[in-house]
Symmetry: C2
Subunit: 320 residues, 2 copies
């Protein structure tokens, strides 16, 4: 089953989500509308809206409301990227220049704020108090995670890593599937099952992202290879590598800042690539994928369940 | 009627709002909790929560919900100040060092984001979809206003000024009174009346703020006099002054950047102080106050109405 087949049950709704994301609001300054269009155009995978739509398909759901939720999670994701790129000083994302590469920090901060507001507004369009609570709780989790990442990004503690990727990625995927289940009127047990699916899948998704930062190439990534390491961010491949090679090597030298520059990064990236750390990290991602698939057991059979099952495998097989 | 008398009907609830604002959440990093405490301690007037509480007093209202709304608007206000101070490079607010004066831009951005999230979470605690919509709509208005201010802050057009102060201040005061009226189950007409009261009062409030930036002193303001002018921000006193004295003077020189530095600012501030522009701006504020009081006509008599009526006058009489 390819990605097109996975998305087949929700093809029409994905188009509606796209239209909703891009619909300019009356009070928007024209330069803001153009900026949002640029941000949305730069080719995200739209995995979050797809998850929300698929997770709503077990029961008949009001199309407008589920489309609003799906758009809300994607808009929230976009908002966090704008501030993240500014904080990291990243110049490229998905091959396109970041907002902060051409705008002032002030305009970038305010555009991110506006996207947070748009996301909250889209979430409010679900007309569902429980969804709004999930949404605002998730926003808090993401923000505390980002703050923790600033403070603890060099931590070599696996628990800190898992806490960070939960806040950074899993929490929002979980909000997408849980919120969708709530909107579709699923039973409490089924809401829990879909929430758990999103949670486990989100963990796998971020581990794969962290692996791709080592094994992919600049053109596919749309940003330099080894960006995490260059920023001093310790991810799972680095953690596994350091467990085998605690110090006195090219990786620890980059993290200790005794080595820097593109050559030192390339050297450290190669060391990790050639170690068993990549396979080990991918096995861990696969474990999370299996847990996400197990969570689906409690849900009725059908096209939505099959798509969610296959989507979980797609997450570990993807190359971008 | 002094401010203590105005607040007498809501004394207990103001205490509950304060406690809710300062209650640390389980997932918060201890340094974040300490930062929030510092931000909340620095002596805001709590005019927004007071407005929400007073506007809810016409009908019996669930205390927990109205306290959540009041805390939500104050938290949202605090969040916007954090990003504003970073953008303006302001080192002091209300006499205390700003967050950005001691933290990195990254930590300041993320703390502001977290406060937005906390505000949304508090708003969701009202369990009211209409309130959530008002809240997220207001957040969008504030953000678009900030963006517009960045683009048009030197505009000498009165319409642009009024649009900016609506977005910057009036929209949130309006959300406080409208949201409170909704939570109290007021009739549609009364909701509109309280919304209009908050709107008009907010316009007056910001004009007085803009006047105080000229006529107050550094110790009372807690920041340098003439800060707006120094940042090239044209407010109502400057607009009135420029209408009488379009160019070739100390004020236009600061705005054109042909004069700068503390002496040039002091010279321009004095020129505006000694002109009729201050009185003219205060008359305009008084007009908005009267309109806010007229909006109260549709509401039942009682302590809440009297307090709101007097609060409107307090807004123009205040010195800080």
């Amino acid at each position: 089953m390819g990605i097109l087949q996975i998305l087949e049950p929700i093809r029409d709704e994905m188009g509606l989500v796209e239209a909703k994301l891009r619909q300019p609001l009356p009070q928007e300054h024209s330069s803001l509308t153009a900026t949002i269009e640029h941000l949305l155009c730069s080719g995200g995978k739209r995995i979050r809206p797809a998850l929300a739509l698929l997770a709503s398909r077990f029961y008949p759901t009001d199309v407008d409301k589920i489309v609003s939720l799906a758009a809300a999670v994607e808009m929230l994701h976009t908002a966090t990227l704008v501030h993240d790129d500014l904080i990291d000083g990243a110049l490229f994302r998905r091959g396109a220049p970041t907002l902060n590469s051409s705008w002032t920090p002030s305009m970038t901060i305010l555009t991110g704020d506006y996207l947070f507001a748009r996301a909250a507004f889209l979430a409010a369009e679900t007309d569902n108090v429980q969804v709004m609570r999930i949404f605002s709780q998730t926003l808090m989790t993401i923000c505390t995670g980002e703050l923790e990442q600033q403070i603890e990004k060099a931590s070599r503690d696996a628990e800190s890593y898992y806490r960070r990727i939960y806040a950074k990625t899993a929490a929002l995927l979980m909000a997408a599937t849980e919120g969708a289940a709530v909107l579709s009127g699923a039973s409490q047990g089924q809401v829990e099952a879909l929430k758990e699916y999103g949670h486990q899948l989100g963990m796998a998704f971020q581990i794969v992202d962290d692996v791709l930062d080592f094994v992919s190439d600049k053109n596919t990534l749309g940003k330099p290879v080894g960006s995490d390491l260059a920023q001093g961010l310790v991810t799972l491949p680095t953690l596994y590598y350091l467990k085998q090679n605690p110090g006195g090597n090219s990786v620890s030298a980059v993290l200790d800042k005794s080595a820097h520059g593109p050559q030192a990064i390339a050297h450290a990236v190669n060391a990790i690539r050639q170690s068993g750390a990549i396979d080990e990290a991918m096995s861990k991602a696969q474990e999370f994928v299996q847990r996400s698939q197990q969570a689906l057991a409690r849900l009725p059979a059908g096209a939505a369940k099959e798509s969610l099952h296959t989507l979980a495998e797609f997450v570990v097989q993807r190359k971008t």
